[in-house]
Subunit: 379 residues, 2 copies
């Protein structure tokens, strides 16, 4: 049992994209990678069987806030951790719960000690501290666990962003101390990733990258992007952070984004992504395909009996037709949610695999510039 390691396999010549291999005690992850979000221990509407067979996921996320509230730590601990509870035996990453807690505007209070908040389920009061969140994530059992940070709201003023960043850094110290003084719980190694913050201010971001890098963690994350800022600003800050984070560690851009966001950020040196977009948009009839974006609710698909996407080797994307999926979603059939979510995730995993292959082949940049207009078009 060993700490997470990252092997840089190929650096693109035309961009800063990289292909790599992450090794964890639950197996290896080829990067760049997209991680489906499994909020309460289930990727919404997609079974663990489909995650393996059709999506070909290599790692999934769990949300600490949700898992802490339900099923709760006792159930997870007695199960022997989330892998054994939900039957997903490949790597799992858990977020710190910070982002969810901060989203509960009005019902939470931030202090030096931590954050008090109310459960969205029963209104009960809880306190998340850096130490507590380390203990919680130890118990959930992610292979990769995230530092407890404050994610300042989009459009934050400089003074707020600076104060928030200082708090995030003090909290990081407490996270690292607690993490280092507690043992792995289930016989495999857990790894702590710190998170760069600093809103849209380059000096703060640089300062944060340097502070985070000084912790010499096995991987580093960039938070606080895609929170309402214009896309060019997001790209600029992401690029800037990549330049100031160690090259020999995986870089994880949290909560991003569209297929084209992902390709652009791969070109800047991001290795790991997560986002609810493929599942959430799928449930709302928006499909990402190898030929462009489909609103399957549209009447133009009523008689289109062609497969959802023949460009993927996901069985579900090839087996079911656009007309059938449209019918299921219009009829509010549960199977429609499963097909759309599975397909969209399979597309995202296909996309990062394609990116990886083109990085290794040496033509990533031209491939990316050719495919983005195709993927963006509305069919």
């Amino acid at each position: 049992m060993a700490a997470l390691s990252f092997q840089l396999q190929h650096n693109d010549t035309g961009s800063k994209a990289r292909a790599g291999l992450i090794t964890t005690d639950h197996g290896q992850i080829e990067t760049p990678i997209f991680m489906p979000v499994g909020t309460v221990g289930s990727v919404k509407a997609v079974s663990q069987q489909l995650l393996n067979s059709d999506v070909k996921a290599q790692i999934i996320l769990g949300n600490t806030y949700h898992l802490y509230l339900r099923p709760g730590l006792e159930v997870l601990e007695k199960a022997g951790g989330l892998h054994r509870f939900n039957g997903w035996h490949k790597p799992i990453l858990t977020d710190s719960g910070g982002y969810q807690v901060f989203s509960l505007a009005g019902t939470r209070k931030i202090k030096e000690e931590g954050v008090t908040f109310q459960s969205h389920i029963d209104g009960s009061k809880h306190l998340f501290t850096p130490e507590g969140v380390m203990d919680i994530q130890r118990t959930i059992g992610g292979d990769i666990i995230m530092a407890f940070d404050e994610c300042p709201p989009g459009g934050s003023e400089y003074s707020y962003a600076r104060k928030s960043l200082e708090l995030t850094h003090r909290w990081l110290d407490r996270c690292v101390e607690r993490f280092n003084s507690t043992p792995d719980k289930y016989g495999y190694t857990q790894n702590l990733f710190p998170i760069v913050q600093g809103a849209m201010y380059k000096d703060l971001r640089k300062q944060s990258c340097e502070y985070i890098a000084s912790k010499n963690a096995t991987g580093n994350a960039i938070g606080g992007l895609s929170v309402g800022e214009p896309e060019p600003v997001m790209y600029e800050i992401c690029d800037w952070c990549c330049d100031h984070l160690p090259a020999e560690k995986p870089r994880y851009l949290m909560g991003v984004g569209t297929p084209w966001n992902i390709l652009e950020c791969i070109g800047m040196g991001i290795d790991m992504f997560d986002c609810v977009m493929p599942t959430r948009n799928g449930r709302n009839a928006m499909l990402f395909t190898t030929r462009g974006v489909i609103n399957i609710d549209n009447k133009k698909w009523e008689f289109d009996y062609s497969p959802i996407d023949e460009g993927l080797d996901s069985e579900i994307s090839n087996y079911y037709s656009k007309a059938y999926l449209r019918h299921l979603l219009k009829s509010k059939e549960i199977l429609g949610l499963t097909i759309a979510s599975t397909h969209n995730l399979a597309f995202y995993l296909w996309l990062v695999k394609q990116a990886r292959e083109h990085i290794i082949a040496g033509d990533f940049e031209s491939w990316k510039n050719n495919i983005i207009p195709v993927l963006k078009q509305r069919l």
Copy 2:
């Protein structure tokens, strides 16, 4: 391409149970059989892949009322029928829509010509006649299609039941005439099953059985049971009908029932069953298992990490634990609906397969009497 045939493979000695083999142009069906209900062309929450791999379904149902309204006949016809539309390539049976239409109390009117009703989707007015329903089912494309009958409400008076039965018989004549004068639409043979009615009155039921049998259809159905009458009455009428229907044709008991209902009625000579109970109850946290009935919502399962049911060879029933399924259903996760529905259907298909094996082995009656108390117990 040939009409449905039924080979009686074994008659039980201790009961009237039989094992048989139905052959259709979409494949064979071993009886006794349970048919999952695929209301709008999808068995709720269960993919066609899972129907094959885990449930091991041999035939599924489609509901004419629902399919007629959505996706509508044009979509189904241009697809080449329901099999090609939904990708279920084994046999399909469609009901006549009568039962659903009569359930829309208040918004429908029964006349000699047929039934006028309002769509539950948009309130639009429609007329179902025996001829129209034959045409609709021809277009949907079921291997087995059902006669348009009136199902009198539970507790109907004798005079109403008699008048209703006479109408059902006149409608049957019209169904047969229309069915015989219209061709198969998609290159395979469709088969019309008439339906015995007569409420809880034995003389009417006998009269109906004889009338239905005179049509010499490839199979016969018993309708109008499990509509609120006490269980012993349901058994008595079912048994009575079996005795008055031809032995050399499959007998289909519509809309029944619990696992023990099914076993008892197999013992009377029923060959085919359908019911929404396994899927509907599954969605509401009630599991049927080889050891008894589980309310998975119950707190006693919170820490039970054992598989849902190791007695089945359904992957889903073995892969996921009771504690995980409980968590998913309590969290209203879609995957919980899929697991519970798939498991319950796999249990129903296991049950009829077991029944078949015990009929062939010659110990059906003692096996049935031993297993019913086990299956009924609340765990």
